[in-house]
């Protein structure tokens, strides 16, 4: 059985699996292209695929520069959110008084549309990187806290008895038992956090920034430049996928010493 899985992961199976989504994408682009041609849709409403590609190739520096601005917000904000979220998760999992005080708010905060916080931050922090970082961090940390805190209770109670029987202490228990057992949930939260960080960065760029792919989309929208919008959107999708892929790779690497498999 392990032989078979290895085969699908790295061998011909990989190409076969990839062929479906790639095929679907090609079909979608084809339909898009066909529509613009068949109905003679004016390019300012829906430019054909080649026009969008031409936009990208005409001024790659613009998109690359703004992709980096967005990445900056995602990485800084996401990192802060993940670190804070992780620390809070430890608190929730191991300090009963902390859990009692905080957990109800964390759970109810899920229903709060966090987008609504952005204009509030604008008042206190003004426009600029710091507002975006704080906003992205705020959005990213919720899934990390909730899923990591839940994951930290995955370890069977008998494992705790085992460690207690040699007086291993709290730190060893957390590091060698609870954390490895929590990793599957923690990574689920991390993936959500990364996805939400990109969303957060774009919203921040609409509300409180003058750079980034979100800002490019906003300005292009005001100027009715659908080709620029779509080009920026395409770059954003690639950026989001790359970040998600990075987390997936980290998850694979962690799989060897945790309960991930």
């Amino acid at each position: 059985m392990p032989e078979a899985t290895r085969f699908t992961r790295h061998g011909r199976g990989w190409i076969e699996r990839a062929s479906y989504p790639v095929g679907a994408l090609a079909l979608a682009v084809g339909v898009w292209w066909g529509l613009t041609l068949a109905f003679e849709i004016p390019p300012f409403l829906l430019p054909p695929p080649e026009a969008v590609a031409a936009r990208l190739l005409n001024d790659p520096a613009l998109y690359a520069r703004n992709a980096l601005f967005t990445l900056e917000k995602v990485v800084y904000g996401g990192s802060v959110g993940i670190v804070v979220g992780f620390a809070l998760a430890l608190g929730v999992a191991y300090l009963p008084w902390f859990r009692r005080a905080i957990y109800p708010y964390l759970v109810t905060a899920r229903v709060l549309p966090k987008v609504a916080i952005a204009p509030v931050l604008l008042i206190y922090l003004g426009t600029g990187l710091i507002t975006a970082v704080v906003f992205v961090a705020l959005i990213a940390f919720f899934p990390v806290v909730l899923s990591t805190a839940a994951g930290l209770s995955n370890a069977p109670a008998e494992h705790h008895d085992l460690l207690e029987s040699v007086d291993a202490g709290w730190i060893r228990r957390v590091v060698y038992v609870d954390l490895p057992y929590a990793l599957p949930d923690a990574f689920a939260g991390l993936k959500q956090a990364v996805t939400l960080s990109v969303v957060g960065a774009v919203i921040a760029e609409w509300i409180a920034a003058d750079n980034g792919l979100g800002f490019v989309i906003l300005i292009a929208s005001e100027n009715v430049r659908a080709d620029v919008m779509l080009a920026a959107l395409a770059v954003l999708v690639v950026e989001g996928l790359a970040l998600y892929g990075a987390v997936t790779l980290a998850q694979r690497a962690a799989g060897r010493w945790s309960a991930l498999e």
Binding site: E158, D161, L162, E164, S165, V166, A168, Y176, P180, W257
Partner: protein, 246 residues
């Protein structure tokens, strides 16, 4: 030497153990038998310091269980093997020693695995091994810890009868080889008799009903199961159990 002096445990109204007086000598093999819910696990946890008694005291070579824990003198084997799923057999054997703050010894761990019939499985993960094999790893882990006391709570409870018998013979062998003090909890009367120097029969309300001195040869193999002496003593233990629950 393990010394229980009037040990009692209450769980908010539920009396799990009451007035347990028991002395277990060094290198002795003691089994504890009784029906489900009679307090066997609670007794073992009290000895191992995982459950504080609400009455009386437990001493291990004169120390409290907490001191014995800190000295890595107690080796637990639970009903579930409690191996870490992401660690190999060897890593699982050394794990408990590391958690006790002691130097793990890989080679010794692999020798131990071989001695419990797991040669060639040193790198296998728990999910690649059968229930019986995993329980062997767990026993090797307790021995590798270097504890002089082994506390085993129905370690073969989830295994089939044939594997149980086999492992029973092995545990006796290990015990003779390693010179450990063993407290072994089970609800199987034949298992309790086969393994024991002394067999503690627990009755209802968490009390010791009777303690049997088991009269069988020191070296025991599968042939013992068919012997008259064995069967008579099994019958005697059974009778005591049934009388106490009549």
């Amino acid at each position: 030497m393990i010394d229980l002096d009037g040990v009692g445990v209450d769980f908010e109204g539920v009396r799990a153990l009451e007035g347990i007086d028991l002395r277990i000598e060094d290198d002795e093999f003691v089994t504890v038998v009784g029906p489900s819910g009679c307090g066997k696990t609670t007794l073992l946890r009290a000895i191992g310091g995982l459950q504080a008694p609400t009455a009386g005291a437990v001493r291990i070579d004169g120390d409290s269980p907490a001191v014995a824990q800190a000295g890595a003198r107690l080796g637990f084997v639970f009903q579930n093997h409690t191996l870490l799923p992401w660690k190999s057999a060897t890593e699982n054997v050394t794990f408990l020693r590391e958690m006790a703050g002691e130097e793990p010894r890989r080679e010794e761990a692999q020798d131990l695995l071989a001695s419990v019939g797991l040669e060639g499985f040193e790198d296998a993960k728990p999910r690649e091994l059968s229930g019986g094999m995993n329980q062997r790893v767990a026993i090797a882990r307790a021995i590798h810890l270097g504890a002089d006391v082994l506390l085993m709570d129905e370690p073969f409870g989830e295994l089939d009868e044939i594997t149980r018998d086999e492992l029973g013979v092995e545990v006796r062998d290990i015990w003779r080889r390693e010179r450990k003090t063993v407290v072994f909890v089970t609800h199987s009367v034949p298992e309790a008799v086969f393994l024991a120097d002394r067999c503690v029969v627990m009755g209802a309300t968490g009390r010791i009903e009777r303690v049997f001195e088991i009269d069988l040869p020191t070296s025991r193999d599968e042939d013992v199961f068919g012997s008259r002496a064995f069967q008579e003593q099994v019958a005697a233990v059974r009778r005591t159990l049934h009388e106490s629950y009549a």
